[in-house]
């Protein structure tokens, strides 16, 4: 059996007394794109952030590449895993944010090379060479010496993708990577993601770009009020008659043209 890229078992997340994720069970297949959709506040970001270890789950186990992350189950008890272990497993995950989150005081190349130098302890020349290759892969070799403030939103997001790719992750997480971009800039970012998908990268993508979701995803998960409502191939999930909550979501959040395409 092929090990899934990630596995989520009985995940709960509470902020104070509000339950934001409720008994999430998910398998993220390796080498494929899984898209997370759902209304605002349904918990999509929180789910991704739990997998990226930016939030600590209240209950449940997450494993990445077959290895538990954060907590593991031992004799039926949930125990915290050592930092060194978590650091290693987390190193398999790349995260791309809605707000790019590039470091403004470093050039594009500096952003991509940073973790190679400080975390992987590579010599500067080698780190820069790899960073240069990664920038080339996202079509930004000619912008390597630009600072984030000198780049367009689409370019910044592509640098952010290159930064995540520099560490050779096994799983890439994208949280609404095109939502803060002008419409004419979303294409360049989606193209980079499409190319990555073709190369067999395991990806979880939160996106409202339903055309992209329908064409690239092999699996679509519809989340509502912190629960998995639908989980299947795009054909299954978008099939008519639609689940009433999905139909309502599509009506409210997406323009009609995009829905027609799907």
């Amino acid at each position: 059996m092929i090990i899934p890229a990630a596995q989520v078992d009985g995940l709960d997340k509470e902020f104070g007394t509000t339950r934001v994720l409720d008994r999430i069970n998910l398998t993220i297949p390796a080498g494929q794109v899984t898209c997370l959709i759902g209304p605002s506040g349904s918990g999509k970001s929180t789910l991704l952030r739990c997998i990226a270890m930016l939030e600590e789950p209240s209950a449940g186990i997450i494993s990445v590449g077959g290895r538990p992350l954060g907590f593991s189950l031992e004799n039926g008890k949930r125990v915290k895993l050592p930092t060194a272990h978590n650091r290693e497993v987390r190193g398999q995950i790349g995260m791309v944010f809605q707000q790019f989150n590039l470091w403004p005081h470093m050039t594009a190349l500096g952003n991509v090379a940073e973790a190679l130098k400080t975390v992987r302890r590579m010599p500067k020349a080698q780190a820069n060479e790899i960073a240069g290759q990664k920038l080339d892969e996202v079509g930004l070799a000619h912008r390597r010496d630009y600072y984030p403030a000198q780049l367009s939103g689409g370019q910044q997001q592509r640098v952010a993708i290159a930064r995540a790719l520099a560490l050779e992750p096994k799983l890439m997480l994208f949280d609404e990577p095109t939502s803060s971009l002008d419409p004419e800039l979303t294409g360049e970012v989606l193209n980079v993601m499409r190319k990555l998908a073709e190369q067999g990268m395991s990806m979880i993508v939160v996106s409202h770009e339903i055309g992209f979701v329908a064409s690239v995803a092999s699996k679509v998960v519809f989340l509502d009020h912190g629960r998995v409502v639908l989980d299947g191939t795009p054909q299954e999930v978008f099939a008519k008659p639609r689940h009433p909550r999905l139909a309502q979501f599509l009506d409210t959040y997406l323009d009609r043209e995009a829905v027609m395409l799907a």
Partner: protein, 221 residues
């Protein structure tokens, strides 16, 4: 009474030395203020409750009292707790502590203004807390606080004048000494003001130049 420029000019070498002393005091105190300010800011953001309270009270006390009183307390009160200092070290210590407390508040605000996402992005690629502090938080913060930091630096130039009261031979002490010697008070005080004004102007300009240079590193918010 006429404005006697020649008289003032005849004291030029002494005034020159005093100016150098003032600039030297300022630079040393400024560097020390930055170091102390960074230390207080970082400890207050990561430290425990007791250390935090102690540092908060220190900063509030320094910011809530006149520098002149702090200097007197350290120089004349110090010996009672076994801290006997010469004029110069006493002056520098007081000035550095004063500047450091102001700097620490600016640095704290600056660190908190660094977007959370920049830190999360660093955590995601595996930087340790120490590396995040050194490589992301502090550099980003320094760019953000440059205007406020320049203001404190300018303030410190003017506070160096207070050290004259314990006899540190800086501009104010030397020039007012010349004034009492020659009775040319107006000339001396005018010259003194011009000296400070020039220093302040130079400092402010340096700050603005640095700001322009660093504007490239600011995120387009």
């Amino acid at each position: 009474m006429r404005f006697d420029v020649a008289l003032v000019l005849s004291y030029l070498p002494a005034i020159g030395w005093a100016a150098i002393t003032t600039v030297g005091l300022w630079i040393v105190a400024l560097v020390a203020s930055i170091v102390i300010g960074l230390a207080i800011a970082v400890i207050r953001l990561h430290g425990g409750a007791i250390v935090n309270t102690v540092l908060r009270l220190l900063v509030e006390a320094i910011r809530g009292t006149p520098f002149l009183i702090q200097l007197f307390l350290l120089y004349f009160g110090g010996p009672f707790i076994g801290l006997t200092l010469e004029r110069l070290p006493a002056g520098l210590l007081a000035l550095s502590l004063f500047g450091g407390c102001y700097m620490s508040e600016v640095f704290r605000t600056g660190i908190r203004a660094v977007p959370r996402g920049h830190i999360e992005a660093a955590e995601c690629v595996g930087l340790s807390q120490m590396q995040i502090l050194r490589r992301i938080l502090l550099p980003e913060m320094l760019v953000l606080v440059l205007p406020a930091g320049t203001n404190i630096a300018v303030g410190l130039i003017k506070e160096t004048a207070v050290l004259s009261v314990i006899g540190v031979p800086e501009l104010t002490a030397v020039i007012s000494g010349i004034g009492s010697e020659t009775y040319a008070f107006v000339e001396a005080l005018t010259l003194l003001s011009l000296c400070y004004w020039a220093l302040v102007e130079i400092c402010a300009r340096l700050g603005r130049t640095a700001e322009q240079r660093l504007s490239l590193y600011r995120f387009a918010a």
